[in-house]
Amino acid sequence: MNPIIEFQNVSYSYATEDGAESAVQGLCFAVSPGEFVAMVGRNGSGKSTAAKLCNGLLIPQEGRVLAAGMDTANENLLFEIRRRVGMVFQNPDNQIIAATVEDDVAFGPENLCVPQEELRRRVDESLRAVGMYELREAEPHKLSGGQKQRVAIAGVLALHNDVIILDESTAMLDPRGRTEVMQSVRALNRERGLTVLLITHFMEEAAQADRVLVMHEGRLLAQGAPRDVFAQEETLRTAGLSLPAPAGLARLLREDFPQLPRGILTEEECAAAILEAFR
């Protein structure tokens, strides 16, 4: 199957006072349709630049990006690319514009001149998909952060997108809000086959993905299934990242219990491994 997002040797630098600062360099990766991919890396590692390159918010200075098979450097395709590759940003207060939840979700498809009946259907369906249908008439400023982010996700879904990119969309939420957003995203991925690229600082969230990409200094340092990536403890240290908390505990315990395996992802697995060590 053709990838839905493909980076071919992509480089991008930002102009600064003293010349140019490289943000991503020779980046190559692909995301398959229906995949749930997490991207991790410390601040300044190039994650957000990569996200903005996915749907033509930034255009590669070298190499190329194909989104749903379309070259993002082709200006004529940008409209279609952005419809199909939607983005949700970090700050829940910066991306809602309408006076009610349903008007906000309708904003995108309205701009595409979707007919009234179809519009209603799409708004309702999108709000149901993120569990916000009951609050469709609510005023956005009265919602919690997690609810606002789910409305933002519904706004993308209403465009009938194929890919959703979440650029640290859970960073400003409290634990409950984060759980709500992650549950919605996982359900959309599993039940509707929506492709997800999740950029996050929370290793516990990355652990829920099919595949994890580790960014470091503008390059891809490692990638693979969460279990394999989080087993590469030295690589993660190089990238300035932590382990998911259960894996972090296992690493510390390994001094006394060398038999504890690497790549532990959950509390349950960690407890089971410790119990095994005492048998």
Binding site: R42, G44, P246, L249, D256, E267
Partner: protein, 288 residues
Amino acid sequence: MNAIETQSLTYQYPNTGKGTPAAIEGINLAAQPGQLLCIIGHTGSGKSTLVQHLNALLKPTGGAVFVDGKNIWQNKASIRQARFWVGLCFQYPEYQMFEETVEKDIAFGPKNMGLPGDEIRARVLRAAEYVGLPESCLPKSPFDLSGGEKRRAAIAGVMAMEPRALVLDEPTAGLDPAGKEQIQQLILRYRRETGRTVLLISHNMEEVARLADQILVMHQGRAALCGTAAEVFGRAAQLREMGLSVPVVTDIFERLRAAGLPVSAEIFTEEQAAAELARLKREGVRLP
């Protein structure tokens, strides 16, 4: 004498309808000098409303606030003093930086206090040192700093007032793991070196377990629990009912106990966990 104390502190936001519950009600908080008090509770539980009372940004609709034993609403002078005695650092404080240089931004507080120039300069340098910003950062524009540096510069701005109590509202929110670690370290060091009181709002239970001398749990505007990590995290079921969690390590140890491994119920940090399991190993404990 407590550095900060509230007695039956209650606040009802103005223009809320009859029957609307108060944002906070009957809060008795006491932080001793040099203590690190963590406040937890989910969004809307009243944490931010509570801390805005501590430096007189909000006027209680009931009860009172004392800083170093003085009622801060006694007169105009005491209100002004509270603003300097209690340094409040909001969430995402870097969004509030506005000066042309980092130095001027850090100096803003001490300048408002009417301190002489050389004293201001000395405080700026000290605060920059506490947060680990090199002197070479000071002439830069705040916009040229990285996210983590900006956050630390903004915290330095509050530290430079040298308040008797420093109040930080989610100081590590939104940072990457290395940035979080740096902020936690600087808080511990600041507290150790100055011996001043620190209040910290956090959603991160690992952070709370690691830093707190005392924990206050807010729930629906009330103080639901208050005590040491052992006293608070020992009530996992109650915390979960309030939509809060316990540290991951504590969760794992609950599972170990449930499976019959005789580990202590008072394990909240990775270091405690390692020590406890090493003890079991030394004692030759085995599961059947």
